[in-house]
């Protein structure tokens, strides 16, 4: 059947068939007509205003990008477009704490030929480019924006590609608008990771740690001398200006946090060590191996974003006999030893999956970050975390209000309350249910009908690869 469709090229028929079942279609194929007004009423829905705050059969009113009211028995304004949601479930828009969706990769700066003096590379080669502003690199039509929006993500903190200090991040809406209009909060954080430079200094974690300490101290000294100079310029030499050092000033003043990628246990330990030595405010994001550092992270006052990426689940050996035969030459016998090892591996996989529950149990608030997760894995991974003991409320909090709080935006984002920005996720089943699909997403009061969940799409792609 499928093949017939493809071969005959009956795309129109297919679209028509699907249109009968769903309003949605392939977003890129259909021109969305502008709404008549910026007023919406979502009625007869189950509203999760925030974690633990459920309203059955409620209504949400939206006007000019803001939520104007949430509750039962509300009067619906005449200009409102009504979305009837008998069996719909409504959540605050999700927030991704660290991402590169919608960010253009700069040109590869690493030259093929070796550096003349690897000890003194340019800032670009060294990866010390904190002066780069991710706002200059935003691409509103980046495909992953659409994918993550279809999962319910409405806002993300995005950062530039690059080295150990790639540049400043920004908090953006995932509304596919013009670059500048995406930005909610510019210079939201000074982004850093333990990324070594290729063939030049800092080529290892040794150099990265030293560079951090040196630049920070240099910046502190330059900053204070600059203010001396600014107060009275006569009789003393003018301070040097340096884009790198100046980028540290808001960090030193604690106006801008350092957003540090810290996947592994040791990464996090090193981040906290730098924090305690230098004193900056920190957000640790993309945490994968943090279960032993919950207390430490909390004591350090760090904001926490846990990775949505998880190690793959152990799959039952589904190899065909033919494949097995091919492997025979290389396989280790199924031994007691192997089983013991498999158990240790499984135990650790469980720790990764149970990390979010462990943070929650310790009452340490956290958000999520999607830097390394494939969009198709987001919902399955959330479900795995829930299965491992994370309450749905806690998962929702992490996706919404906790992330908003960590980013200092909880006055505007994170819950469905009157006065907040209308970032809303509407799902046709409770979000964490096995077969839930996001139907609509509102960002700043603008409605998006989402395409089929990415997981289905990729499955389809896979199947279509076979002859």
């Amino acid at each position: 059947m499928k093949n017939t469709f493809r071969q005959s090229g009956c795309k129109i028929i297919l679209v028509a068939l699907l249109a009968n079942l769903h309003i949605m279609t392939f977003a890129q194929d259909v021109r969305i007509l502008p709404a008549v007004s910026r007023s919406y009423a979502i009625t007869q829905v189950t509203v999760f205003q925030g974690p633990g705050r459920k309203v059955d059969g409620g209504t949400i009113l939206i006007k000019d990008g803001l939520i104007t009211a949430v509750g039962k028995g509300l009067t619906i304004p005449p200009d409102a477009t009504i979305i009837k949601g008998d069996s719909l479930y409504v959540y605050a828009g999700f927030i991704d704490g660290l991402s590169r969706i919608g960010v253009t990769k700069q040109k590869e700066e690493v030259p093929k030929e070796k550096a003349k003096d690897p000890g003194n590379p340019s800032n670009e080669q060294a990866g010390t480019t904190p002066y780069i502003d991710v706002r200059n690199l935003l691409n509103p039509i980046d495909k992953p924006i659409e994918e993550f929006r279809a999962l319910g993500f409405t806002v993300a903190q995005v950062v530039p590609y690059g080295g150990m200090m790639a540049g400043s991040g920004a908090i953006v809406r995932l509304d596919g608008n013009a670059a500048d209009k995406m930005v909610i909060k510019p210079k939201s954080a000074f982004y850093a990771e333990f990324a070594n430079a290729e063939r030049v200094y800092p080529n290892t974690i040794l150099g990265i740690m030293a560079k951090w300490k040196e630049l920070y101290k240099q910046a502190s000294l330059t900053k204070s001398y600059s203010s001396v100079y600014a107060s009275n310029r006569s009789g003393i030499e003018s301070p040097t200006t340096d884009r790198v050092l100046e980028s540290f000033y808001p960090v030193i003043d604690k106006q801008e946090p350092v957003l540090f990628k810290g996947e592994k246990n040791l990464d996090i330990q090193r981040i906290l060590s730098l924090k305690s030595q230098l004193g900056f405010n920190v957000q640790v994001a993309e945490i994968k191996e943090g279960w032993d550092l919950i207390t430490k992270l909390n004591a350090a006052g760090s904001k926490v974003f846990l990775s949505l990426e998880l190690p793959e689940e152990k799959k039952p050996n589904a190899k065909t006999d033919k494949e097995k035969e091919k492997d025979d030459l290389l396989i280790v016998p199924d031994s007691v030893e192997l089983k013991a090892l498999q158990k240790r591996t499984d135990d650790f996989t469980a720790k990764y999956v149970g990390q979010a529950a462990a943070f929650n149990k310790a009452n340490v608030p956290f958000g999520f970050s999607g830097l390394s997760v494939k969009s198709k894995d987001v919902i399955p991974n959330l479900r795995r975390m829930i299965k491992a003991g994370l309450s749905e409320d806690a998962a929702l909090a992490a996706l919404t209000i906790n992330a908003a709080q960590a980013l200092g935006l909880s006055d505007r984002l994170g819950t469905l309350d009157a006065g907040k920005v209308a970032n809303i996720v509407i799902s046709h089943k409770p979000y964490f249910d096995e077969k839930a699909k996001v139907k609509y997403v509102f960002i700043d009061g603008k409605i998006f009908e989402t395409g089929p969940p990415v997981v289905d799409k990729s499955d389809k792609d896979k199947k279509s690869e076979k002859p």
Partner: protein
């Protein structure tokens, strides 16, 4: 007797004078090593015994032995006599300064080059050789390294001025079995890449073997096939006349090698390396293929393995019924062969089997047990005298004989000691 001693003393004095100008020479003659505890290896320990060396051979072993006239008597009261130790795998003689490729002659370009011969490149004058032999290691396998079939290894005695004078009667072709293990910290291949690489190499190996089998048929039929050095070198292996030394270390590779050996019906074969042999010891025992394992002084091949697995490996294999010889797999560290054996002994192999693993067992595996590996009449006089158990760290080796030649106990290292223990001038000139 007395006059002989005086004469010897004069000779020695002359020899000492010559030391200034050149290294002392070995000495051949008739020797009587008396009053010794003799570790024959094959026939127990003889107390207060005598070993007579004449014409390069052991001519008598035991108690109450008449000392031939003219024999130089070495009183070994309180001393021990052992057969020279045999290192079943080294690069000794083939490499001088490890980091300098100009002094490395064990790794030629090419993946199937069995015709290249280690014996041709053994440097009899390597400074490393005396250092090895004064520790009691008298015989080593000098083996090429590299890709799939890097050449032909040779067993050499560590005395002589030409490779032929050193040759100890065994040559074998090295096969580095396709390796699924990581080569070092720099090896960052993904598991898939490793697997692909192995599959490719296995294919090359099978193609090579098939060619050799075909060549053998052709050769048997026509007796004069065209010049094909690789195949000519492999011919004796196909015919079971020459040993194939199959290097395999991870358990997967060992099993794969065993299967391959069985499939190809390889007749004369040894496993070498065998770092994870303990993991598949029963399979090795069942296949009845002896191993030359080492280095013993190594860290486990996997992070989750018990910390002492490399030390225990030889003992665990032996316990499973595998015939085990031990190698150092070293070049300048061949002198530490006894310590490799001793660690294996301490961690389960036992002293007796550890001693055999560096004497009679490798001699048997290399087909030279008629000459080497034990103190027996008729064997080559390749042995040493020590002041104790040669595995013990502080034991001194006092005399070494190779093919009946008394070896000078002098190396560059001992000469530097003599010169610098009390340097002159000291602080002021």
């Amino acid at each position: 007797m007395n006059s002989i001693r005086i004469f010897t003393a004069i000779l020695l004095a002359v020899a000492c004078l010559q030391v200034k100008a050149q290294s002392p020479k070995g000495k051949k003659g008739t020797f009587a090593l008396t009053n010794a505890s003799i570790q024959t290896v094959t026939k127990g320990v003889i107390q207060q015994g005598t070993v007579i060396i004449a014409d390069g051979k052991i001519t008598a072993v035991g108690t109450g032995i008449t000392i031939p006239s003219g024999a130089e008597v070495i009183d070994c009261a309180g001393k021990w006599i052992y057969p020279g130790m045999i290192d079943g795998g080294t690069n000794l003689g083939m490499s001088e300064v490890g980091s300098d490729p100009r002094t490395r002659d064990f790794n030629e370009i090419g993946d199937v080059i069995p015709q290249l011969k280690a014996l041709s490149v053994v440097n009899p004058n390597s400074v490393l050789i005396p250092v090895a032999r004064v520790s009691g290691v008298t015989t080593v396998l000098a083996a090429p390294e590299g890709d799939l079939i890097p050449g032909t290894a040779a067993l050499i005695n560590l005395h002589g001025y030409t490779p032929d004078q050193m040759f100890a009667g065994f040559e074998g072709i090295v096969l580095i079995f396709p390796n699924t293990g990581r080569k070092g910290f720099f090896d960052r291949r993904t598991p898939e890449e490793v697997k692909k690489g192995v599959e490719k190499t296995v294919q090359k190996l099978n193609e090579t073997w098939d060619l050799a089998v075909q060549y053998h048929k052709l050769d048997s039929a026509t007796k004069s096939p065209a010049y094909y050095p690789e195949m000519q070198a492999l011919l004796p292996v196909i015919r079971g006349e020459r040993t194939l030394l199959v290097e395999a270390n991870t358990s997967k590779d060992i099993l794969a090698a065993l299967k391959w050996i069985k499939d190809k019906k390889v007749k004369k074969v040894l496993l070498t390396g065998v770092a994870e042999g303990w993991r598949v010891a029963a399979d090795i025992a069942k296949a009845n293929i002896p191993v030359i394992t080492g280095p013993v002084l190594a860290v486990p091949t996997r992070d989750y393995d018990r910390y002492d697995k490399a030390y225990a490996n030889a003992g665990l294999m032996k316990k499973a019924g595998v015939t085990v010889a031990i190698r150092s797999n070293a070049t300048e560290h061949v002198r530490n062969l006894p310590y490799n054996a001793a660690f294996a002994a301490a961690y389960g192999l036992g002293k007796e089997d550890a001693l055999k693993a560096v004497t009679i067992v490798p001699a048997q595996l290399f087909g030279v047990a008629d000459k080497l590996g034990s103190i027996e009449v008729g064997k080559s006089a390749t042995l040493f005298v020590s002041d104790g158990d040669p595995f013990e760290t502080k034991t001194n080796i006092l005399n070494v004989f190779i093919d009946g030649w008394e070896i000078p106990m002098v190396t560059r290292q001992t000469e530097l000691y003599k010169e610098f223990l009390k340097r002159e001038p000291g602080l002021t000139k």
